[in-house]
Amino acid sequence: MANTHSRTTSEKLWTTILWTSSVLVLFFLMAPIIAIMPLSFNGGQFLTYPLQGFSFQWYQEFFQSEDWMRSLKNSFIVGIAATMLATTLGTLASLGLVRATFRGKAIIMGILLSPMIVPLVITAVGFYFFFAPLGLTASYTGMILAHTALATPFVVITVSATLQGFDMNLARAGASLGASPTRVFFAIILPLIAPGLASGALFAFATSFDEVVVVLFVAGPEQRTLPREMFSGIRENISPTITAVATILTVLSVFLLSTLEALRRRGERLRGTKG
C-alpha cells in the first residue's frame, strides 16, 4: 500500500514538473511575439512599458514612409515572381521524381535540395561573386533568380510528399480512357494535388519574403525588401515603427499558418486519408 502511495505521489510530482516546464517553454516561445505587439500602439516615443497612451502613429509612419512602402512593394514583387518560378520548376521536377527510378536519382535529389542545406552566407557570397560581373547585382532579375533557387527545395519536398500519397491508378484510368498526358495532368492530377501545390507555393513565398542574407549582398538600394529594411532598422536605431512592422508581419504569419493547416486538411480529405 505504502509503495503504491509513494508511486502515485512521485508520478504526480513528475506530471507537475512536466506541465510546468512545458508551459514555461511554450510561454518562452510565444511571449516575445505577443509582448511587442502592444508597443506598436504606444503613444510615447519609447519601446518600454507601461504604455503612454494609445496611438496609431507608428502604423501611420510605416504606411507613409517612402522607404518602408518601397520595401514592402519589393518584397511582394520578388516574392511573387520567385514563387511562380519555383512552383513551376519544383512541381515539374516532383512529377519526374516520383516516376524516376534511374541511377543517379540520389545525386540529383541532393542537388535539388542543396539550396536548403548550404549556409545562407555561402549562398549569398556565391551569388554576389557570380552576379557582379554579369551585372545582376542590384537588379530585380538577380534577386528573383536567387530567391527562386532558395525556394525550390521547399516546393520539391512538399509536392513530392503529396504525389507519394497520390493514387497513380487514377492517372492510368484517365490515360486508358484516351486522355492525353497533358489532359490527365490538368483534369486529374492537378485538382487532387492542388492543396499540396498551394502549400509548396506558400512555403516558397514565405522563404523569399523572410530572406535577408542574400538580399544584403545582392540587392541595391532600390531593391531593398522588408526584412532588409528591418535589418537596418534594428541595427541602426530601433524605432517603434519596427514593432508596427513586426505586428503586421505576425498577423500575416497567423494567416499563412491557418491557410496551410486548412490546405493540409483539404488534402487529407481529397485523398481520403487521415493523418
Binding site: 508511486r7 519601446l47 540529383i108 534594428i234 514593432t243 513586426a246
Partner: protein
C-alpha cells in the same frame, strides 16, 4: 501482360515447332518493347526534372563552385605584376635573398603598375600576407630611381623590408595561379618561404578561435534546445489530439513568424529598460538591470528561441510513434517509473533527438543575422567573418576559404543526418 502469355501457353500444350519459335520471337519482341517503354518513361521523368536541375546548376551550383575555386585560385598579383611572378621562379635557394633579376622585375613592375594605377591591387594582395606590405610597396614605388646599378641594394636602401626573406616568401605565395595560402590561413597555418607548413604567428592566428566559438555556440544552443524541447514534445505526443493540436499552434506560430520579427522582438525586450529586466526586478530575482543583449546571453536566448521548433517537431513525431505498451510492460515487470523512463522510453527517442539535434546544429553553425543583431563583437560566428571579408575588406580569397571550411563541415554533418534520417524526411512543420 506476362500472365496473359502464360495462359495462352497453358491452353495450347501441343504446338508445332514453328509456332513455338514464333511465340518466342513475339515474347522477345514484347520484352524489348516493355524495356523501351520503361526507358521512355525514365527519359520523360528526367525531362521533367531537367529544367529545375539545369536552373539550379547554373544559378546555384556554379556560383558556389566558383566561390570555392576562389579560395585556391589567386591571380591578384600576377595580373598586375606579371614579370615579378614569372621571375620569382628563379629564386632557388629560399634561405637566401633572391638574385638580382627578381629585384629588377619587381622594380619594373612597380614602376609600370604605379603608372597605370594598378599598384594598389598588388599592395593589397601582399598586405594580406605580410603586415605593412601596403606601406612599403607604395613607399618604395614612389622613391624608385629611373635606373640603378643594382636594384637589390637600391631597394633595400629605400626600405629594409626588401632585405627580408619573408617579403619574397609572400610574393612567392601570391604568385599563383593556385595557392594554398587562404586555406592554410583559414586554419591558422602558413607556408614559409622554404615551403614548410607552420603555425601562424599568434596575433594572426584568429580563425581556429572563431571556428571553436562557432562550435561552442552551436553546441550550447543544441543542448539547450534538447533540454527545453524534450518535455514539450513529450507532452504534445501524450496528450489527447484535440488539446495537443491547440498546443502545437504555440510551437508552429513562432516557427512561421519572420526571423527578423523574432530578432527585433528580442532586441526590444532584452534592453536594460526592457520587459525582461523589468520582470526580473519586479519578481525580485534581480536588484538592478543586467546586460542581456549585445553579449553571449542575448545570442543564446534569441537563437534558442528561433531554433527550438526545429528540435520539438522531429522529437514530437518520433515520440508519437512510441507505443505506450512498452512503458506499461516495464512497469508491470516491476521497474520504477524512473528506470522505465531511462531504460525503455529514452532510448526510443534517440532518433528524434539526433534528427532534431543535427538539424539545430547544422542551422546554427551557419547563423549570421541573429548574432549580428543581438551579439557583441566577441559573439560573432564564422558566417559574420565570411560576410566581413566579402563586403568590408574585399579579401575574397579569405572569404572563400572560410566559406569552404564551413561548407565542408556542413556537408559532413548533413551526410550524417542523411545516413541517420533520410533527406526527404526533413520536416517542415
Amino acid at each position: 501482360m506476362p500472365s496473359d502469355l502464360a495462359l495462352s501457353q497453358a491452353a495450347r500444350p501441343q504446338q508445332p515447332q514453328a509456332d513455338r519459335a514464333a511465340e518466342r520471337a513475339e515474347r522477345a519482341q514484347l520484352k524489348s518493347r516493355l524495356r523501351r517503354a520503361e526507358r521512355m518513361k525514365q527519359l520523360k521523368a528526367f525531362g521533367l526534372i531537367a529544367p529545375l536541375l539545369l536552373f539550379l546548376l547554373i544559378t546555384f551550383v556554379v556560383p558556389i563552385a566558383d566561390m570555392m575555386l576562389r579560395s585556391v585560385h589567386d591571380t591578384d598579383l600576377s595580373e598586375v605584376w606579371p614579370r615579378t611572378t614569372a621571375a620569382i621562379e628563379q629564386w632557388e635557394d629560399r634561405t637566401q635573398l633572391p638574385p638580382e633579376p627578381v629585384y629588377a622585375a619587381i622594380a619594373q613592375d612597380m614602376k609600370d603598375s604605379r603608372a597605370n594605377r594598378t599598384i594598389a591591387q598588388a599592395a593589397r594582395r601582399l598586405n594580406y600576407d605580410a603586415n605593412g606590405a601596403r606601406t612599403f610597396v607604395m613607399g618604395t614605388a614612389r622613391r624608385l630611381p629611373d635606373t640603378a646599378e643594382s636594384w637589390k641594394s637600391t631597394m633595400i636602401d629605400i626600405d629594409e623590408a626588401w632585405g627580408e626573406i619573408d617579403t619574397f616568401g609572400a610574393i612567392a605565395r601570391a604568385s599563383g595561379p593556385f595557392t594554398s595560402f587562404y586555406l592554410l590561413n583559414a586554419i591558422d597555418l602558413e607556408k614559409t618561404a622554404t615551403g614548410e607548413i607552420v603555425s601562424a604567428p599568434e596575433q594572426e592566428a584568429v580563425y581556429v578561435d572563431i571556428f571553436t566559438r562557432t562550435f561552442v555556440i552551436s553546441m550550447t544552443v543544441t543542448l539547450i534546445c534538447a533540454l527545453l524541447g524534450f518535455p514539450v514534445a513529450y507532452l504534445l505526443a501524450n496528450l489527447p489530439p484535440k488539446i495537443a493540436n491547440v498546443m502545437m499552434i504555440l510551437v508552429l506560430l513562432p516557427f512561421w513568424t519572420s526571423l527578423l520579427v523574432r530578432t527585433a522582438a528580442w532586441v526590444v525586450l532584452l534592453q536594460e529598460q526592457g520587459l525582461v529586466n523589468d520582470a526580473l526586478i519586479f519578481t525580485g530575482i534581480l536588484d538592478e538591470p543586467v546586460r542581456l543583449i549585445y553579449n553571449r546571453i542575448g545570442v543564446y536566448i534569441a537563437m534558442v528561441h528561433i531554433l527550438l521548433p526545429f528540435m520539438i517537431l522531429p522529437l514530437y513525431s518520433v515520440m508519437k510513434g512510441i507505443k505506450p505498451v512498452y512503458m506499461k510492460a516495464a512497469t508491470s515487470l516491476g521497474a520504477p517509473p524512473t528506470t522505465a523512463f531511462l531504460r525503455v522510453y529514452l532510448p526510443q527517442t534517440i532518433p528524434g533527438l539526433s534528427a532534431g539535434g543535427l538539424l539545430v546544429f547544422i542551422i546554427s553553425i551557419g547563423y549570421y543575422i541573429t548574432p549580428a543583431l543581438v551579439g557583441g563583437a566577441a559573439d560573432q560566428m564564422i558566417s559574420y567573418f565570411i560576410a566581413f571579408y566579402t563586403s568590408d575588406t574585399v579579401n575574397w580569397g579569405m572569404a572563400s576559404a572560410l566559406g569552404a571550411v564551413l561548407l565542408v563541415a556542413t556537408m559532413i554533418l548533413y551526410g550524417v543526418y542523411n545516413r541517420l534520417i533520410g533527406a526527404d524526411k526533413m520536416r517542415l512543420g
